[in-house]
Symmetry: C2
Subunit: 225 residues, 2 copies
């Protein structure tokens, strides 16, 4: 059972003239031979084109390489998956039984691919302006929120730059705990900034990820993000 | 001195409302700070989108991966450079003196980038349909000519598949000559297909390249390409 398609059309802001395109975009390859893989190919390219245009217009001073980096940060599995979850896309997907049972309707790769397929379907259904409208509606908030000064830099780099600009010395990272079983360990790292008397912890499924999380927590406190 | 822009507009099939966009698309970074690099970013994405749509429509049976491979064969520096040369784009470019003197107006990377910039300029000037029109006009012949059965496969693979389908045994490759000086050697390889009594030679600047050339000659004879 999939949810009512009209409600999805309302969420993405496009009513399909060719409903079969919408249905195809929601069909995973595990469900039928006529699935969304070809539409995903098309959707990926129209998505990159529309987001490229949005960034080109918004950031008049940025060079080509910076625009490419911003786009890569906006158009990736994680960001697409977030958008897909926001519109509840998983409930509309047609998946094979195996995928359905193993949680495919909430799997990031399946959600991201289906969202791209939706963009491709709108493009085929009513041309570039239709795809542009859907993409601007769904991806627009992320484009507006993007900060070209911090994008592409990880938390440790941001924190280090913030501290160096204020001559506060480098932070120190200490592994303080490793918990969980061998195949699912959780690392806890503490980021210490002696000059400011600040200590922040972060966790992750690798030491590196935990360091980034700890640095992010420290940076958020210091830079007020 | 650059050539008359109206003649270029006629060749690409788009008359610019905003002539400054056309001028910017033809300006290399060696000439001015206001150059074509940002337009190239935009042009690359609209080019991939339009060629993606052309391939999607033309090859209804191909899967996503095959469509991507075909597009990569159509959209690359070499193919873009060929199109740029066909429309005489080099004569319209604005290059810094150094680039001009060192033959920049015929350099593949500069020509390919400028062509992408032109696509981006048409996109900004009059929207997606304008860019689509220019791209279809200039890239259309290559899309029509493309053969999905041979794209992405090298000559040795094609020949082997052709022979296996007919149970004719594998070809044998023999190095028959190496000529030229150490830094410019020319290899000659003979491709022998005993079952058919066929022998074809090929040359190249490596043994591998000569084998491919020989296989290509044999395949051309057998498959009639």
């Amino acid at each position: 059972m999939t949810a009512d398609l009209a409600s999805l059309e309302a969420r993405i802001g496009h009513r399909f003239g060719q409903r079969e395109l919408l249905e195809q975009a929601l069909t995973h390859r595990s469900y039928a031979a006529r699935n969304n893989e070809r539409l995903e190919f098309l959707g990926d390219s129209v998505l990159n084109c529309v987001v490229g245009l949005m960034l080109y217009r918004r950031f008049q001073q940025l060079q080509e390489g910076q625009l490419s980096r911003l786009r890569a940060n906006l158009v990736n599995q994680q960001s697409l998956c977030e958008v897909a979850r926001r519109i509840g896309l998983g409930a509309y997907l047609k998946l094979g039984e195996g995928e359905l049972r193993s949680g495919g309707a909430d799997r990031p790769s399946i959600l991201a691919d289906a969202l791209e397929s939706l963009f491709g379907a709108a493009f085929l259904d009513a041309g570039f302006p239709a795809a542009e409208g859907v993409i601007e509606r769904l991806m627009g908030p992320a484009v507006v929120a993007i900060d070209p000064h911090t994008q592409g830099k990880d938390a440790k780099t941001l924190l280090q730059e913030w501290l160096q600009a204020r001559r506060k010395g480098l932070p120190d990272y200490q592994l303080v705990a490793v918990t969980g079983q061998a195949h699912a360990q959780v690392f806890t790292v503490e980021c210490r900034i002696e000059a400011l008397g600040l200590r922040c912890q972060g966790t992750g499924n690798s030491r590196k990820a935990a360091e980034q999380a700890a640095a992010g927590a420290a940076y958020a406190q210091l830079a007020g993000h």
